[in-house]
Amino acid sequence: MSGTFITRNPGVLIFLALLALFTIAITILSEGFGLGLVSTSFVKTLGKTLCLCLVAIAMDLVWGYCGILSLGHFAFFGLGGYAIGMWLMYERTRMIVVESLANAPLPPTPREIVDGIGTQIFGVVGSAEFPPIWAFAHSLPLQLLAVILVPGILAGVFGWLAFRSRVTGVYLSILTQAMTLALSLYLFQNDSGLRGNNGLSGLQNLPGLAAVPQSTVSLWFFWGSALALGAGYALAAWVVSGKLGSVIRGIRDDEARVRFLGYPVETFKLFIFTLTAVIAAIAGALYYPQAGIINPAEIAPIASIYLAVWVAIGGRGRLYGAVIGAAFVSLLSTWFTGGQAPDVNLGFYAINWVDWWLVLLGVSFVLVTLFAPKGIGGLIDMIAHVRSPDRKGAPLGPDVGSLREKEARE
């Protein structure tokens, strides 16, 4: 079966091959492995970019293929980051506490260790008690399970409520945005149990691997991210091919018609929504150990909109478009906001890109929406000579997509 899938979708193979080539090239050039031409921080940036590509694929799946403009997928991304961050922080703090208590006159009791960890982690929010949501933080497998389950269940419940009451279109977008806002506001509180706006920090240090240099750790995460991206791409490609893919695209184009054909539209939408939430969470769980810190600002509604921007610029409705868009825009954004881009001197005013980058992004985004709805992916269509039918003349009927004058004549 998988053979036929690959033969029907040669694009997946091409993508995986390119990804593998890229990974190998960066590995050889990196500091931790070979030539040292690529700095560790840039390897981290690339690794993070791969995670962003993965969440962009999730976004493309739910928006480009299923037509649900979710403005909440970065919340799932952040939840995944929080879930893994809790274990990373707990375990690393535990090691520090055990080490510092080792010199005490009496060996520490288990309770003393837990109290010590609590004081270390929650000192900044004026508490020392472990909130109930940290109950599983001591166990890596349970927290890994939480990476999948917490966003999955949240997306499942939210999606079930929303789709069941037939909230669609822009209403759904606003509702998902409200969910994101509620979540980030909740996490901003100090008594949310996740350290308020301090967030979780020190995540780049893997517990027990203090001896391994960051250059090596960064490579591990880079490989992990590449692997996840490859798997995610293949999974998404499998979902959108075949009959399932046809139904999903049908829902995007005309939901009512698919429903009248007898398909349980809500179930399909819920499946896609939850699946993409889980993919986003996995991407987040790989992203934040490379970023080193996560705080509620990462979950703010604006982040999810940026995600939509990436997918739109890359070209939605095609998986490689999402990857290209996320990689292109996020790397460009790093370049511009990092102060590396040269200032443009207009004589009377010097454009400093740190200030003007967002203006440029906003304007180019409007232009892309207006003039190039296919995004960067449209360029590839041009190269491959794929064109939309050129429908000339005025529409004959009142509805969108009705026959036009010339089509009627032929």
Binding site: A178, W356, L358
Partner: protein
């Protein structure tokens, strides 16, 4: 003449002939010279009283100076003088006229240094002068000083000044303050009468005066004879912590102190001998059970105080008697205070609710202001405009800029309001013409394109105006608050915002129902093609509608800017709430927006009231509530029916 007087004074070293009054106050001081020089709090009373009651014009000045340690006495003959320090010595000045009397050495004079107790007595005497001063401003200031820091000595002074008070308003305030002071310092019967006179009063100072009467202390065992018992306390309940109860028992020598975990741990550490405690190797003391066992071993050998691990503090204090005893010994007074406080509490609750309702109303009007423009663009035209918040911001910055040019705040506000409308409306029309027009059939892409405009505008504002908040100062007549009593008050700006919100509602209704434009807008909204065939230009109407909605957002920006600070992110703060307001209320209906804003405003204030420490949590719960609400009424509170509802 002065010179001669000085000469005589120097030559003879005695007091010069002085005016009659000087002699009087000097004589008065001389009469009490011993007491004044002795400076003892117990004996000074008559001296101060005599000065205060003398009716002499200079008595007040003398008391003042005395209090400030500026009164000196000549050792030789107890002549009281003021002093100016000079290099040659101390120049004595007459206490009435200020005339130089003589220059003497430091040894000849003695500075009077009244201690804190005496200074307080002098202060009380001075208060009486202030309260009876012919100048009403001085009397007001004196009263205010007492209100701020009432003392026992003030009561008599206040009572003395009641008679002569000519100003009726001040008289009422004085009498009220007199009753307040009586609560704390009067005789028993007076106090009870004074307490009852405040039944149902809402002021904070009444509660501040009553609460100390009900202060209690905790006693262990049966209460002492004649004690004013408040109630029995259950140890371990909210009133009395277990540890506190146990500490009381320990203090009464009834219970032995229980060494806490830290103390036990320290005892173990102190008794480590050759890497073992009581024969147990230190390495094995890594559980609580092992540590307890080792400690008991130590206790058995008498090294450390023993304790029973089976019997916790809670066991020790259970079934023991603890009482809360009023510090105030008179039960009649505490009863009176309790009943009055109870009556006050009911009033306070009612007023709190009313105050909360006012808060909710003002928050609702802010939401309504922020959302009304959106109700037009989103509700009527169905266009999602994510840059709506930035139009609000634009209006606020317009107001700020106008204030930079026109310094008069009232005038600048009058200019800013129409200008903000014009600026935001122009931006809205430009956006509609350039972008939205091309995306009417692609709502999701409208959302994204307007979002692109939103981030560009936001960044542009940040680049131009910087990241720090810019003030939009309200005119003087909008400062201050409308204060009903100590609990209920609402600032004038909020009232103004409420008024502006109502005005907008009226304007909107007028435009939509009574003008040609409104008619055409409604026609285009319901069926653009049919409207077009009737000779209405849908393009033009869409443009105008969008301009109207955006312009109103601009005016809302000025209003919101007055109440909050103007930043480049202020629009983004309101955008989600605004959409929520429109969606909850029901799209396409201004009354729905009104109901939505009211509901959300009141709901948020209500949640904040239940959890006052946390406005973030209130917003979270509110959004969750809205999400759930939309499950049940996806089309909002007022849902359009029929064809206008669309799909």
């Amino acid at each position: 003449m002065k010179f001669i007087a000085l000469l005589i004074a120097v030559l003879f070293g005695s007091a010069p002939p002085a005016p009659a009054q000087t002699r009087d106050i000097q004589m008065l001081l001389q009469t009490h010279a011993d007491a004044i020089v002795a400076s003892s709090r117990r004996t000074i009373g008559p001296a101060i009283d005599a000065l205060a009651a003398s009716g002499l014009a200079s008595a007040r000045e003398v008391l003042n100076r005395w209090q400030d340690r500026e009164l000196w006495v000549r050792e030789a003959d107890s002549l009281f003088v003021y002093v100016r320090e000079e290099e040659t010595g101390l120049v004595m000045l007459d206490i009435v006229s200020g005339v130089e009397i003589a220059t003497v050495g430091r040894r000849d004079l003695r500075q009077l240094k009244p201690n804190g107790g005496i200074r307080a007595l002098i202060g009380a005497a001075l208060v009486q002068f202030q309260l009876s001063d012919p100048d009403i401003k001085v009397r007001r200031a004196g009263l205010r000083a007492i209100e701020r820091r009432p003392e026992e000595s003030h009561l008599a002074a206040l009572r003395n000044s009641l008679e002569g008070e000519t100003d009726p308003d001040l008289g009422i305030r004085k009498r009220r303050l007199e009753r307040l002071l009586t609560i704390s310092y009067g005789s028993s019967a007076e106090r009870i009468a004074a307490i009852h006179s405040f039944d149902g009063a809402l002021s904070v100072d009444v509660r501040a005066a009553l609460n100390p009467i009900l202060a209690t202390r905790t006693v262990f065992g049966p209460p002492p004879e004649g004690a004013n018992v408040a109630r029995r306390l259950e140890p371990g309940s909210g009133d009395l912590g277990t540890a506190d109860a146990h500490a009381l028992m320990v203090a009464a020598d009834v219970a032995a102190p229980i060494p806490g975990p830290e103390a036990r741990k320290q005892a173990l550490i102190d008794n480590i001998v050759d890497g073992a405690v009581a024969g147990v190797p230190v390495a094995r003391l890594d559980t609580d059970a092992a540590r307890d066992a080792a400690y008991l071993q130590l206790a058995a050998s008498g090294v450390v105080p023993t304790y029973d691990p089976e019997r916790s503090m809670a066991d020790v204090v259970a079934d023991e008697m603890f009482f809360a005893v009023y510090i105030e010994p008179d039960p009649a007074v505490t009863d009176a205070a309790q009943s009055t406080l109870k009556s006050i509490e009911t009033g306070v609750k009612l007023n709190r609710t009313f105050d909360l309702a006012l808060d909710g109303l003002s928050l609702a009007s802010i939401y309504f202001l922020a959302a009304i423009g959106l109700a037009i663009t989103f509700g009527v035209m169905g266009v999602i405009n994510m840059a709506h918040g930035e139009f609000i911001m634009m209006g606020a910055y317009t107001g700020y800029l106008v204030q930079q040019v026109v310094p008069d705040y009232t005038l600048s506000l009058l200019i800013a309001l129409p200008l903000a409308f014009a600026v935001a409306a122009a931006a809205g029309v430009a956006m509609e013409r350039l972008v939205i027009r091309h995306l009417y059939h692609r709502p999701l892409e409208t959302l994204l394109a307007t979002f692109g405009i939103s981030i560009a505008l936001q960044q542009l504002a940040k680049t131009i105006f910087g990241t720090q908040a810019r003030p939009l100062t309200s005119p003087g007549w909008l400062d201050g608050a409308w204060v009903l009593n100590d609990i209920v008050s609402i600032s004038h700006i909020r009232i103004a915002i409420f008024a502006i919100a109502l005005m907008f509602l009226a304007v909107f209704l007028f435009i939509m129902k009574r003008t040609r434009l409104g008619l055409e807008v409604r026609a285009v909204t319901q069926n653009p093609k049919m409207a077009a065939s009737m000779g209405i230009d849908p393009d033009r109407i869409n443009m105008l509608t969008f301009g109207l909605g955006s312009g109103i957002a601009g005016i809302a920006g000025v209003a919101i800017g007055l109440y909050a600070k103007v930043t480049s992110e202020m629009g983004a703060d309101y955008i989600v709430q605004s959409f929520m307001t429109v969606v909850v209320g029901g799209v396409g209906n201004i009354w729905g927006t009104l109901i939505g804003a009211t509901g959300i405003g009141f709901l948020q204030k209500g949640i904040e009231f239940l959890n006052p420490s946390n406005t973030l949590a209130a917003q979270t719960y509110m959004i969750v509530f809205i999400i759930v609400f939309i499950q049940f009424r996806p089309r909002g509170i007022i849902a359009l029916r029929g064809r206008a509802a669309g799909d």
